[in-house]
Each structure stands twice: as structure tokens, then as C-alpha cells.
């Protein structure tokens, strides 16, 4: 691996990499998706606290380090900001159920499955050529506005520094009011 191929998330309100991802300041499109075969999660249910929305290409896909497993370890960090963590990919709810059980994930992982990738398209992070989403991060504020977004190269686990910086910024803004 070349040392220069991996980028670190920008700490600004950027949309990153010249991508089509919805930028900061945009209202986060609402959606309702299955988190398990018999449970549905609606984004607007979380109004009043920040949401970390983490799109990833596919369950079981290999990447340098497992991004969802990493975020699972960081749930308590996100919870300190009162933030809700939601994973999302185009896999179906049964696939997610097996994936979450195998990786011992303790946060909702949403199935953007039917129509396939509809929510990824709404957020501007669908990869038509692959039929999956980008590896894209959105931090949504308590009012449902996108505060920070970032698209990582598909093969690179972006870590959580950008998310934590965005959540800290939101907290400072809230405290400053």
C-alpha cells in the first residue's frame, strides 16, 4: 500500500472530494428503513439530538479494518454527545441481522434495500457502477440539518476523528446559545 493513498477526513464543513454528497447546511432528507426484519427506524424520530449516519458499501466487505466494528467500540464516545449512531447499506434486513450478530454490533444498521439505494441516492452517495453506496459520513444536528459530511475512498476506513470533531463543534454551538 502506498503511504499517500489514504486520506484523513477534513475537519471543515466540506462535502469532501468534490463528491455529490449533500453538503453542510442542507436539511437531511427523512427516511424510514428497516433495522431488523420487523422493526423500522425513522430519521425524524431522533429530532432533538445529533445523528451520525454512516453509509458503507456492503456487509461483509473487506476494508482495512472494519468500520462498523470500530464505530461499535466508539458508541460511548458518541453517546457522550447524546448522539445516535445509525449504520446504513443496501443489504437486506436479514443480511444485516446476520452481520450484526457476527460482529456484535449494538446500534441500528439500516437496510436501504427496497427500492435499492433510494436513501443513498437522496443523500447523493449512491455508486451506480457498483450498486452500493459510498463510504460516506453525515453528522446531522438536533434540528435535522446536515452539519458535516464526508465521503471516504471506498476502500478506506475513515475512522471517527471527523465525526467527533463535528459533534464537539455542535456541542459548542449549543452551549454558546
Amino acid at each position: 500500500m502506498n503511504a499517500t493513498t489514504k486520506s484523513i477526513p477534513s475537519r471543515s464543513h466540506s462535502r469532501g472530494n468534490g463528491s455529490t454528497a449533500l453538503p453542510a447546511g442542507t436539511p437531511a432528507p427523512d427516511f424510514a428503513l428497516k433495522s431488523t426484519p420487523d422493526q423500522t427506524v425513522k430519521l425524524s424520530e431522533f429530532r432533538g439530538r445529533p445523528v451520525v449516519l454512516a453509509f458503507y458499501p456492503a456487509d461483509w466487505s473487506p476494508v482495512c479494518g472494519d468500520q462498523m466494528a470500530l464505530y461499535n467500540e466508539m458508541r460511548s464516545e458518541f453517546q457522550e454527545f447524546g448522539a445516535e449512531l445509525l449504520g446504513i447499506s443496501v443489504d437486506g434486513a436479514w443480511c444485516h441481522a446476520a452481520f450484526c450478530r457476527d460482529r456484535k454490533l449494538h446500534f441500528p444498521v439500516l437496510a436501504d434495500f427496497e427500492p435499492k439505494g433510494e436513501v443513498a441516492r437522496l443523500y447523493g452517495v449512491y455508486r451506480q457502477s457498483d450498486g452500493t453506496s459510498e463510504r460516506a459520513l453525515f453528522v446531522i444536528d438536533a434540528e435535522g440539518i446536515i452539519h458535516w459530511s464526508y465521503v471516504s475512498p471506498v476502500g478506506v476506513n475513515p475512522g471517527a476523528g471527523g465525526i467527533l470533531a463535528a459533534l464537539e463543534e455542535l456541542q459548542r454551538e449549543t452551549e454558546g446559545q
Binding site: M1, T4, C64, G65, P158, G161
Partner: protein, 183 residues
């Protein structure tokens, strides 16, 4: 929920001699920081690589280790990290650090106590501290600092404060440490 003050979390990716466990001169020209997990097989594979690099660079290198236990994947990683910190409280952090990486497949509490005994440490004190969570906060601080520095798995290295994303081979790491482009 009100967050606790973040002042105790190291924000720098440079080794902090007053806080971190370091080997080598604190004013060495080359600073290498590792975020590691004692139960992670990749860290185990990289452990002899770091040893070889330390051997080669001698006093030109200052090496520091911070904990980044992935406890959902590695159920023994947290207690192992705390055992190394507990050994550190008895002045023998690096001996326990090495012992753990050399025995990655045996990290039950009883094993930790056995390693403490073999290092002539007060094993009972070590086990009591581990079980009471005396060093949980310290390990957590390390983890939180890593999360903010985009550590995305283990091992993760920082050279003179800058993330290193190359291979974990001795020659590639040495080239990066010497400031040469990695092949």
C-alpha cells in the same frame, strides 16, 4: 448529558514523555507512537518489527505506546491493557507489554497474574487493580485520544506526529522513519 472535561485526553500524536510510556530518549529526533491492542493478531505480528526498528535506530528513536483495545472483537484486550498499566504502576510497564505480546493466546486474568509473578511483581496487587478497574480511566483516555486522531484499527502508527499509512514491514517503516519516501 454533560461531557467530562477533555483536558486529560492527549490531543497530540507525538509521544508525551510526561504521560506516555516511552522507550528511548524523550528528545530523540525520531518519534514513533503506536496505538495497539494486546489481543490483536496484527499487533502481535508487528511487535517484533518494532523491536527490530528500535534495535536499528538505537538512541535516535523514541517509541511510545498507547492503548486502543477493541473490546467487542477482543474480549481479553481491556484487562490485558489494564494489566500492563498496573505493571507500569509497579515500574515494569514495558516488561509486561512484551510479555503480553509474546503470549497473545493466553490472556485470562490467571495468565496475567502468572506473568506478573514471573516478572517479580506483586501479582495480587496487579490483579486487584485490574479487577477493580484502577487503570480503566487511563486506558480509556488513550482510546479516546486515538479516536480523535482517526485511528481506524490496530496497530496504527504516527511518525513525528504524522499518521503513517504504509506497510508494517521493517524496511518500509525504517524508510518512513528516516524521512524517505516509502516504496
Amino acid at each position: 448529558m454533560k461531557r467530562e472535561m477533555s483536558g486529560t485526553i492527549p490531543e497530540s500524536a507525538l509521544p508525551m514523555p510526561d504521560r506516555d510510556h516511552i522507550q528511548g530518549p524523550p528528545d530523540a529526533p525520531i518519534m514513533l507512537l503506536e496505538y495497539g491492542d494486546y489481543e490483536c493478531p496484527y499487533c502481535g505480528e508487528t511487535y517484533p518489527v518494532v523491536k527490530a526498528i528500535q534495535e536499528r535506530l538505537g538512541d535516535r528513536l523514541c517509541f511510545a505506546f498507547r492503548n486502543f483495545p477493541l473490546v467487542h472483537s477482543h474480549p481479553h484486550a481491556q484487562h490485558a491493557a489494564e494489566a500492563a498499566e498496573a505493571a507500569g504502576a509497579q515500574g515494569r510497564f514495558w516488561e509486561m507489554h512484551d510479555m503480553l505480546y509474546e503470549n497473545q493466546n493466553a490472556l485470562e486474568d490467571e495468565d496475567l497474574a502468572e506473568y506478573a509473578l514471573s516478572l517479580d511483581l506483586d501479582a495480587e496487587r496487579l490483579l486487584v487493580e485490574v479487577r477493580a478497574g484502577a487503570h480503566t480511566g487511563r486506558v480509556r483516555q488513550d482510546f479516546r485520544s486515538g479516536a480523535r486522531l482517526d485511528v481506524n484499527g490496530t496497530p496504527s502508527f504516527f511518525i513525528n506526529g504524522v499518521r503513517y499509512n504504509g506497510s508494517h514491514g521493517v524496511e518500509d517503516l525504517l524508510a518512513a522513519l528516516a524521512g524517505q519516501p516509502v516504496r
